[in-house]
Amino acid sequence: MSVPSVPAVPGVRTRARRGSRAAGRREQPPAGVSRTAGYFFVALYVVLLLALGIAPVVYAIYLALSSSGGFGANFSDAFNDYRFLPAFEHVLEFIALWLVSQTILVVALVLMLHSLARRVGAVFRFLFYIPGALAGAASVIVWLFMLDPTASPFAFILHWLGYAQFDNTIAPGNLPAIFAIMAFWTGAGGWIVVMYGALNNIPHELLEAAEIDGSNAFQTAFRIKLPLIRKWVVYMLVLAFAGGTQLFVEPTVLGSAALGVGISKYWSPNQLGWFLASQYDEFNEAAAISIVLLAFGLIVAAILVWRGRLFEVE
């Protein structure tokens, strides 16, 4: 799996407008039609969720727990695999770099954009979003060129850093940072659009009141706007963490482009799962690693939801 793509922009602004219009006119669609349409749309999603989300998870749990070696044997095989810990170390290092940089930069950029004049802000928002329009593997291909000192348009930077060849750039110690840059480049623009939508949802009266009370742009950004989009930041962290632990496309494509130099086929846990299943017919152990990743994502999501009071109704 690639790092997570960003969901559709929450049309909070549009919804707020429509809401106020509806409230003004007191128009309500007939309850039956509304309910049927609701069930229809939800059903489409539920079918796909069951087929492509729940069923594979159930099958993975079944595979992970079925073993001739006794209950839990697949998990102990996975934990004892010499590639298991390094894979998790790699991915945690990547996540630490990526989440911190993405959170700080996305929030900073979106707050700056929101305080700019509307037209300028829209142009920058669009520019930030463009890289995100590239699908996972395609964006990695772009980076293959960017990172190759013999082909990159930014070769002078790579040479300045002392990298003469592609193999130098993708030295093992550089990989977490490289994947973090790739993930930021493809994902940040989408999140900026999402956060921008969230910022637009802040009542204008509130910002006006702050201004009248003498709040400067900086204070407004950090004391009014930021607390109001906190839930979206937490939401970004939940998705980014789950997607980050499942890192797959980037190291796989980079590894095959490097012709086997520097990046192993089991750099990340998700790759290790694939490697064990496809190269050694060890589907059960691979499933156990998938379940570990799932549990990892769920636990961190639960902590973030709880600590970030994500679902709390004020």
């Binding site: 409230a23 010499y82 190759d148 060849q165 030295a171 939940v238 789950a242 499942q246 190269q279 998938s290």
Partner: protein, 453 residues
């Protein structure tokens, strides 16, 4: 807006936000990849099904020739990546077929594999997917295949070797005569390293070889009888990096490290830097002569007409041995319903003079000895000093050290992930040897092998 309406809106918004968050989080987390099932079962009679043959792009000329001489043959040809560079395609497809069933007419009956060690991977547990060919191919035929150490595994014949990929010493005669006038190219590793040191001193920017590519274990360690990948019993590996055969060669390479390019022959750096034109010599497989030295090709080389093959250097223990890089395999699935037809097809591909004696169809020296003379004479005019080149190729072809075994892990991959990064960060081959052997040991134990040192 009244406070009650605002409250209602806020609740609606909260509910919307909440359901959106739950939905998106569930989607992202539940995306853990797990392959699911398919349906096997073939009801039709197997004999009516076509023979399915998987081949790689370099074997397209073989297929064309087969079609011309076998009109009406019921064969389904499937082009795939040949498992090149250890891509793992065959392992992943075989693993899936083992789960969903080997449907005749869909799953492959005959496979060409570019990786010379993979019969020991796909023909052994947990795969067990290769047919023992002994009942289907006459011994008088298969015994004439060279390099069968990669196919004869635990008493079974699991493949035929397509080409003999023994390593020779390729020398650029023009550069050699310019830099080493009156001197003969090296016949020992010590001379080879000494020439490298002289080159670093007198002609920096010119090379005696490349070092750092994944297959270099097969050049320098295999070529000096280094026992770190030697099967010495059923699923028993000898992995001893402390053997003098390993440490001596590593020390010699280190002594001339500046005379090796780290550019790989299939990289953009190789082409951009015109590396092939700076190789005074290089130890490489027979097929590399025509693959990386032609001028005006994508390799940007000096032209094969200035390149001559010499016998590989003697091992530091005095043995006449060499390593081997690549050299493809023909294999038959143990699940085939048409073993005789499948074996007949692979035998034709592997031995037919129409295919194997033509250097325009077969790029490497045919493994099937009776075809070698024809192939070598079809090379006339390609290399400098054709008769000496032919003699060197023939000599090397018979000297592949059998102690480097086909195993169910990729030494190339391990080498590329350990030795190369170590060299890039300024380390030496000798210092990386222990890590390399340690990782081979881990891979072997993980595959259920016992490891001795």
């Amino acid at each position: 807006m009244s406070s009650s309406i605002r409250m209602t809106l806020r609740r609606t918004r909260q509910r919307g936000l909440r359901s959106a968050l739950i939905t998106c989080a569930a989607l992202a987390i539940a995306g853990a990849t797990v392959a699911t099932t398919g349906v096997a079962a073939a009801s039709a009679k197997a004999s009516s099904k076509p023979l399915v043959v998987w081949y790689d792009a370099a074997r397209a000329a073989f297929v064309k020739e087969y079609k011309a001489t076998h009109p009406g043959a019921n064969v389904k040809w499937v082009l795939y990546d040949g498992d090149g560079n250890g891509s793992g395609t065959l392992q992943s497809k075989f693993a899936l077929y083992n789960r969903v069933g080997w449907t005749p007419g869909v799953a492959p009956d005959v496979v060409f594999d570019e990786e010379n060690y993979e019969a020991g991977w796909l023909g052994e547990p947990p795969f067990n997917d290769l047919l023992n060919l002994k009942p289907y191919i006459a011994k008088s035929v298969w015994s004439k295949d060279e390099g069968l150490g990669d196919c004869l595994i635990n008493g079974k014949l699991l493949c035929l070797r397509n080409d003999n990929a023994a390593n020779v010493l390729w020398v650029n005669t023009t550069l050699w005569n310019q830099f080493f006038p009156g001197q003969q190219p090296p016949t020992t590793w010590a001379q080879y390293a000494a020439d490298g040191q002289a080159l670093v001193k007198n002609h920096p920017g010119y090379y005696i070889g490349e070092f750092g590519q994944p297959w270099d274990a097969e050049t320098y360690l295999w070529g000096n009888e280094c026992p770190i990948n030697e099967a010495v019993g059923n699923r028993v590996l000898l992995d001893n990096p402390n053997s003098s055969n390993c440490t001596t060669i590593a020390g010699l390479i280190d002594s001339a490290l500046g005379a090796f390019t780290t550019n790989g022959p299939f990289t953009t750096s190789w082409v951009n830097d015109k590396t092939a034109q700076h190789m005074v010599m290089d130890i490489g497989a027979i097929w590399q002569g025509t693959a990386i030295y032609p001028s005006g090709s994508s390799s940007n080389g000096p032209g094969t007409n200035v390149i001559e093959a010499y016998p590989p250097p003697l091992a530091t223990n005095g043995a006449h041995v060499t390593g081997s890089i690549g050299g493809g395999l023909w294999m038959v699935s143990s699940h085939t319903k048409q073993p005789k037809a499948a074996a007949a097809l692979m035998e034709y591909m592997d031995t037919s003079p129409k295919i194997q004696e033509s250097s325009s169809i077969e790029e490497g020296l045919p493994a099937y000895a009776p075809d070698q003379g024809g192939w070598l004479s079809s090379l006339n005019g390609v290399f400098a000093n054709p008769s000496a080149t032919e003699a060197a190729i023939k000599q090397a072809a018979a000297e592949i050290w059998p102690g480097w075994s086909p195993v169910p892990w990729s030494v190339e991959s391990i080498f590329g992930n350990t030795v190369t990064p170590s060299l890039i960060s300024g380390g030496t081959f000798a210092s990386a040897l222990t890590t390399l052997a340690g990782n081979i040991k881990s891979a072997a134990q993980s595959a259920g092998w016992q490891v001795k040192s």
